[in-house]
Subunit: 600 residues, 2 copies
């Protein structure tokens, strides 16, 4: 077994330190952030950025995948006194698709007893918020969202078009509580996943991104999936979904959960289908219910539930170019047609809520009828399902369950806003969580880009979390490189959206990087970028020598043609002498160029 | 010299043929298009797409770089009887930056006498259009823009938000003429570049993209640049700009022009600066004027002229985070300050127009004060320059010169539309030609994506041509791979914009590809994509076997989980039996799955 223990990527990003901020309501909480040190010549303080990477980037943290991460939230959860440990469900052969022998992923070495709500109690963040309680989780995310805002307060000129979002200048724990209470934000935080660092998803917070991982019947292994998780959060994934569909689903998920500092989402239907041998019509409420409990006990933080696919909607998809492209949607459509009845997900949604309420599993109400092509965007089937999702949201809220709503898909630019507007109206402003949308169908191999365009736009309009799309979309399973490209692309989209919404702290990093660029601080430019490794290696391809990192010109143009240099010289003169004097000087024939040290 | 002759990439794209359509007004013209053949099981005609690749993708064309391309337009130009050949300017050592010996790029082997307008004549497409003439160039682009529209007429449901663009259902040569006459579109077509296949740039036509190439003082050679041009147009670049700044500028440009089937743009200021040893303040109108004539005689199709940078605007840039980031803008700012006078470009703009008018060189009025960071977007300097560009447009139009206007730069999402709106208002609807815009500063190494997002959006709002940005932006000179990634990213942005504007034929390719996807025609899916090679190789990484190209499931999910397959089966049943019957059948317990041939 020793050899099977995965190794993962560790170590800090360049010039970066993981730092912690303590709480005030809850002095025991330690909220991680990343500080990027700048070159001394900058004369600027470190730049603070959001840090989703967990202990893996902390050189002082001891990482042992077979022991898992520290159980950060265990004491908070226990202190609330409304949960109990119990023996929990036995792991059955079906949970791992009957994998045996060498094909079987080993069990995670330790299994603490699961915890659930005491009889009749709701242990969701929403229940606490509605009761007026500020949990440690709420204060944690308030501090986390405020990155650099206090320090930068003076510079905070609000500038943006928020389309009705109400982002405050400063996030207080009470603001978080109020947003959770009214369902406008969620903190996915299963009581059985105490390793996770709390994060918030909502329109009035930073736009988040999700990375999908998971093996399939065709390919992939446990070690790869654990490393993909660690790799995805290193580059900025805020949550991870495990979409495994093959064997070993239970055991792989356990390894991921015990080592994941971000919330983990799943589509329980995938595992339920494995348990019935892949025959959709053999699915039953009992098998599905058992799977929900299995996963809730493990600590899954949010469930995608395709309860919005209803029997009467299925004929609406027959005229489509690409039919039903959601796996969950297709499975449920098949089940509904076969039995010619409403889906067990829809009929038992109340009971599903009871399970979610007992473990604080958030819902991601799946868009099983999302469009899979430009031709099918915003059609009757899609919007009929959205109406149902709105009604399910009310049912979940009545049970104190946290809800977000999944969105498309493939949508041309001019039809994106209607998705956001309808979702807000129909689903009571529950957070929207969209896949892309892809803005054209014609670029397989580049669907991170076709969808990054749509993601930036819908994020701007108000989507709270963007589900990444990798270059392999439609073609194959993403490998480690694809995961990174997908994450960086979506960090770009989310950040572009934050900027455009007028998020008060979003521009600090842009401005710091642009100042570094203007002042030829190449190292700072690399270190402040979303992917310092790639920025540095691309620069070095053209100008490999160390000396060029301090050269007062860019690698594109050479010294004579560098607009930044000319412009910088102009600035330096202006600052020294004042613009008026400079104009005089120029009248006398002064030179804007500063001599380069090496005489070039 | 033989060894130095560059080799370039030739051969058709997969399943593709270059085909020609003849004119009606001008039966002699042959307009190239690309037809992509589909698998016989599709039962669909070939898909026709725009083809910018020139003869290089035609297996019957004989390619000899040291002879150049056929002089397609020579007869059209001669037939107009308003031009004359003349001896032309001698090539001087300064034209190649005094490069000598082994460092000197050899001259192109043949040099036909240049052609210019007869005394007093205007030989621009705008002059002809205003005189009511439909030139062969105009009919050429009309046919070229109509790809597939006639055949698809029945299916053409217009759907989009055009923001005031007026794209007709069908483009007639008279429509092209009218758009050119009123300055709303241009056909960059220097009479000394008869090798070029005419193309049109305007808001009521397909959105175009430009790829920048060019050597610098730091790196690159002639052979590389010629191949970059051929490579860029293979993947869809509609025009190419040669931004060379080092030695050998004249000779490299000659090789590129003689082999380029797309219009070539330049920034003449770069070469003029080389001629005065890189000292901006030593630039004179005489040197610049001589450079314009040199390049006009060679056949450059459009000039970037930074005549909008005026003395009084320069102080507006001093408070910026990144000052002046346009090379041309910085050079002119330095000149203006040094001499403390209005720039020679502005003062001699009338004479510049006279040169453009005599060769039909179009203007790309440069945005020398474009913002180089999010912080500087839409500031006073930027918009002051735009006002001047509007006035220069009127001067150029009065001389029958064709004009487009360059735009930013770095702009957050919520400030993009103002750029388009102001440009339309200020510049009389002259075509807008933008670099990106980049929607955040924090992702060097991925600026094709930060800018592709902005490009799609501004293209939708009405920008006529998008200047690509490669992953190397801010870091180094793009190599061949970067050029391809930049071009494909911008083809995505342009196409997403066409779809959203409601271009009547844009969706045909999306729909064909999505049908192929839904029907598991993998080969068709690859062949219809913007980059078939990448799509295929990504697919083969996961499922390398040939058999899987006809498998009725995707490489992501395996057979049991494929939503497309389930959905497809549902469709097949519905078509065969009708929805009502199918529902009955399902009530009796039918199965949606079709058995796979191999029994899986």
């Amino acid at each position: 077994m020793k050899d099977l223990t995965p190794t993962v990527t560790t170590g800090p990003l360049p010039a970066s330190r993981r730092v912690w901020h303590a709480g005030e309501h809850h002095p025991e909480i330690r909220v991680p952030m990343r500080e990027i040190d700048l070159h001394p010549t900058a004369g600027e303080p470190p730049v603070t950025v959001y840090d989703s990477s967990g202990p893996y980037t902390d050189p002082d943290a001891e990482i042992a995948i077979d022991r898992g991460l520290p159980r950060l939230r265990a004491a908070w959860i226990a202190a609330r006194g409304d949960t109990e440990t119990y023996e929990g469900r036995d792991v059955e052969p079906a949970d791992n698709g009957f994998a045996e022998g060498a094909r079987r992923t080993p069990e995670f070495p330790h299994r603490p007893a699961p915890r659930r709500a005491m009889e009749g109690r709701a242990v969701t963040q929403m229940a606490y918020a509605r009761a007026g309680i500020i949990t440690p989780e709420m204060e944690f995310v308030a501090i986390r969202e405020n990155l650099g805002r206090k320090a930068a307060k003076a510079a905070l000129a609000r500038d943006g078009e928020s389309f009705g979002a109400e982002i405050p200048d400063f996030i207080t724990p009470a603001f978080v509580r109020d947003e959770i209470a009214r369902g406008r934000a969620i903190i996915p935080a299963n009581i059985n996943h105490p390793e996770a660092e709390p994060m918030v998803i909502g329109r009035n917070f930073l736009v988040k991104i999700n990375a999908n991982i998971g093996n399939s019947a065709v390919t992939s292994s446990m070690a790869e999936e654990v490393e993909k998780m660690v790799w995805a959060i290193r580059w900025g994934a805020d949550t991870v979904m495990d979409l495994s569909t093959g064997h070993n689903i239970h055991n792989i998920r356990e390894w991921i959960l015990r080592n994941s500092p971000v919330p983990l989402g799943t589509v329980p239907l995938y595992q339920a289908l494995e348990k019935v041998g892949g025959i959709a019509e053999d699915l039953t409420w009992e098998v599905f219910r058992d799977t929900l409990i299995e996963q809730a006990e493990q600590g899954v933080d949010y469930f995608t539930i395709h309860a919005g696919v209803r029997l009467h909607m299925i004929p609406m998809t027959v005229g489509r170019v690409t039919g039903i492209v959601s796996r969950g949607g297709a499975i449920m459509a098949k089940w509904c047609l076969h039995h010619h009845r409403e889906s067990f997900l829809y009929e038992h949604f109340d009971e599903i809520c009871d399970i979610a309420r007992a473990y604080d599993v958030a819902f991601s109400l799946g868009d099983g009828l999302r469009p899979g092509s430009i031709a099918d965007a915003n059609d009757a089937a899609q919007f009929a399902e959205l109406e149902t999702l709105g009604r399910l949201t009310q049912i979940a809220w009545a049970k104190d369950c946290q809800v977000m709503i999944e969105g498309p898909g493939h949508v041309p630019l001019h039809k994106i806003k209607e998705n956001m507007d309808r979702q807000l109206r129909t689903c009571g402003e529950a957070p929207f969580y969209t896949l892309g949308p892809l803005t054209t169908d014609i670029a397989p191999g580049y669907d991170h880009i076709t969808s990054g365009i749509g993601a930036a736009m819908i994020g701007w309009f108000g989507t709270a979390m963007l589900c990444y799309v990798t270059p392999k979309e439609h073609l194959g399973l993403p490998d480690r490189d694809d995961v990174k490209v997908g994450v960086i692309t979506y960090k770009i989209a989310a950040h572009a959206a934050d900027l455009a919404k007028g998020h008060p702290a979003a521009r600090l990093r842009d401005d710091a990087l642009s100042r570094a660029r203007f002042e030829f601080r190449w190292e700072d430019q690399f270190n402040l970028s979303l992917d310092p490794d790639t920025a540095r290696s691309m620069h070095d391809e053209t100008l490999p020598k160390e000396a060029h990192k301090v050269a007062h010109f860019c690698s594109m143009c050479g010294p004579k043609f560098c607009s930044m240099r000319i412009s910088h010289d102009l600035r330096a003169e202006a600052q020294q002498e004042g613009m008026q004097k400079m104009a005089e000087k120029f009248r006398e024939g002064g030179d804007l160029y500063m001599p380069l040290e090496d005489g070039k």
